[in-house]
């Protein structure tokens, strides 16, 4: 007798829950295309929201204030995410998946661009929404292009550069072999020769791709198919494995992330270091630095000339669900203008994507690494542009890590890498 009465409220609860789940629209179904969303609201103007990770050096707010003063009817609200890249990514995914129109312009890491584009979440920047990319460095534009269509406006860039001890090495090496031949100098001085970031994380993907690309290979071919089972890729990854086995890359480098490697170089324990430009300021000004006046900068060494750096940086994109795309486009243009880029460089030390700014005397005086960085970015290859980036980067990390440590031969590692990337793309 008691059970049915008890069931009534329970049933109410159940019905409520079902209604809710219907509103949720089913968790997993990602429908591609977005064709209709991409055609809607192209002329919409009005207030928009700009979404970006934590604004550590306070560059975004002054810019938005400036924009808002000039556009009182199309004000931009700044939504600041955390400073963790993974969390930023997941936050964007949640909002896009729910087709919410509250994120208009979003700041995407170069490696997420293809994934978001393939999900149909980013407004293609063509026809009415086109932006002019002719003045931008080509690799940065490539990083925002998926299947021949531009989906994002390159905003800031980043490339690897070679830090070297100019007190020990008079002229920096141009090629990898040249650099390895200089390792005897390191031995004489009882320090390590070369290090990058070889811990098993995103940094290893960057370093391994650089090694492969610099030797003339590639991770993915033009059609997005894996292409690491080649003689060039073997030579590239082989360079790292051999240097690690020889001791030219010190044993502890297998635990290095950016900061560990910078500290090793800064305390005078390394002859050569591959790192991002951010390290320059710290190495040359920090009180604890033992190599303040002994640090030189050069492009990464390659096979016969400058090596192919991996690209970092961020792109700006408009959500297909935005209601005010005309305003969003204007705001993207404003945020990638020469003036804004310069402000980003001086205020936040973020490298511009416009080639001309690298020759700007005022900027070079403030950021002396710019000329070297320009060479680096001009020769850069974006990290694999693929919607399956998380799986591809895992395939690279796991296998490159085993190869460098000598747990697997380079040949076996690359053939496993090839298969793992292939299976990543086959998931359907």
């Amino acid at each position: 007798m008691k059970t049915p009465r008890f069931l009534l409220p329970a049933a109410t609860a159940g019905i409520l829950a079902l209604t809710l789940s219907a509103c949720g629209g089913g968790g997993g179904g990602t429908t591609g295309g977005g064709g209709s969303d991409a055609d809607a609201n192209l002329d919409g103007r009005g207030p928009i929201t700009y979404v970006q990770g934590k604004d550590n050096s306070n560059v975004v707010r002054p810019l938005i204030d400036k924009w808002n003063a000039a556009h009182p009817n199309e004000k931009v609200t700044f939504k600041e995410q955390t400073d963790q890249a993974d969390q930023q990514h997941d936050d964007l995914v949640q909002h896009f998946q729910a087709k919410q129109s509250d994120y208009d312009v979003v700041d995407v890491d170069v490696v997420w661009t293809a994934e978001f584009a393939a999900k149909g979440w980013l407004q293609p920047l063509k026809d009415k929404m086109a932006i002019d990319t002719s003045a931008m460095l080509k690799p940065t534009v490539d990083s925002a292009t998926y299947k021949g269509t531009l989906y994002a406006a390159p905003q800031t860039s980043d490339g690897g550069i070679l830090y070297y001890r100019k007190d020990l090495v008079p002229t920096p090496p141009k090629t990898w072999d040249e650099m390895m031949s200089m390792c005897s100098i390191a031995k004489q001085n009882n320090i390590g020769c070369y290090a990058g970031q070889f811990s098993k994380y995103e940094g290893l993907t960057v370093n391994a791709s650089e090694a492969i690309n610099s030797a003339g290979g590639s991770v993915l071919d033009k059609d997005g198919k894996p292409s690491v089972n080649t003689a060039e890729a073997k030579a590239g990854l082989g360079n790292l494995a051999k240097a690690y086995a020889d001791g030219n890359i010190p044993k502890e480098a297998i635990t290095y992330k950016e900061e560990d490697s910078r500290q090793a170089f800064q305390s005078g324990k390394l002859l050569f270091l591959r790192n991002w430009p951010y390290a320059f300021n710290l190495i040359t000004t920090e009180g604890s630095s033992a190599v303040k006046d002994k640090t030189g900068l050069a492009a990464l060494p390659g096979k016969s000339g400058p090596g192919a750096s991996s690209l970092g940086g961020h792109n700006l994109a408009t959500s297909v669900y935005s209601k005010n795309k005309a305003t969003a486009l204007d705001f993207m243009k404003f945020m990638t203008s020469a003036e804004t880029e310069k402000f980003y460089a001086t205020q936040g030390s973020l490298a511009p994507v416009l080639g001309s700014l690298y020759e700007d005397q005022e900027l070079v005086a403030k950021l002396p690494y710019l000329p070297v960085l320009k060479t680096s970015i001009e020769n850069a290859v974006p990290r694999p542009v693929t919607p399956f980036y998380p799986a591809v980067t895992k395939a690279i990390q796991d296998n490159a890590y085993s190869a460098i440590k000598g747990e697997k031969t380079v040949d076996a590692a690359l053939s496993d890498m090839q298969n793992a990337i292939q299976s990543a793309g086959a998931g359907s």
Binding site: K2, G28, G29, D416, A420, S423, A426
Partner: protein
Amino acid sequence: MATELGPTPVKSPASGAAPVHHAPKGVGEDNRIASQGRWASWLLAPTIVALGIVIVYPIISAIVMSFQKDAGLDPATGLFTAGGSAGIQNYVNWLAQQCSAPAGGTVACPPGTLGGQFWSATATTFFFTIVTVTLETVLGFWMAVIMARTFRGRSLVRAAVLVPWAIPTAVTAKLWFFIFAFEGIANKLFNTTILWTGSEWPAKWAVIIADVWKTTPFMALLILAGLQMIPAEVYEAAKVDGASAWQRFRLITLPLVKPALMVAILFRTLDALRMFDLPYILTGGANNTTTLSILVINQIRQGFNSAAALSTITFIIIFLVAFIFVRFLGANVVEQSGATGKGKK
């Protein structure tokens, strides 16, 4: 509390009053109970709705998702398309470590895929669980016995012991990350050059050491609570009878503290099976320190539906372990309080 309203009045007339008087009285009583019961269930409804939304709905939704295929790429447009129904394929793929093949069908997952790590992650998870829980139980017991004694500064020791437990795990992990760095304190202190996070066994021990450091206080406090339930007279009586310290520990302390100890071990085991943040931050899952939870989180970024299947598998594994504990090892988490309550009445 509200649930007790129903059954208790039913019992009291049955046990108290004579059966003859019971029948006529029972009719009115039944109505009253019935209306009370209805009233109670309406009062409970908001809670049930809330539980339904935050617990039942997500679980069912996850299970439904786990039978869907992950979105695949349409080669012509380069856009993702919904995967459709997968049947039990997601589960089969994990358990048999099969990955999709480019030509269709499945192949054994090559190294460098998440799918190829299921069994090694399961083994790692159980290895961590067994080793850390064993160490924590032994150390925790020892600490609890010390804290149970009366001595000057006891409250200070109790507070100090709690410090590692009070620090958020992510912070703990980062602390130990710096300690175990190549140029870190661990190597400086022992004058070694171990690559703590760079090879398999040092990495595993680094995780174990950090976890034991962090969660032994939890163990110690739960056991301490159990120790304080044991009346001092029992020990006095044993002493009078001439029992040695070891006999008192084995025949009095251990059996009497067992309920609390089993609950503590159960909690820690379930916690350890879910271990995520410590290895994720300390080693990034490298060198065979990837636990099941790390695998789930990594898979979420590669495909929700497959991740839903994996988390369902993880849930079942943990549930089975909990079941074994409660059923066979006598960890009475649910019944114990009710039983003792009744006993006191």
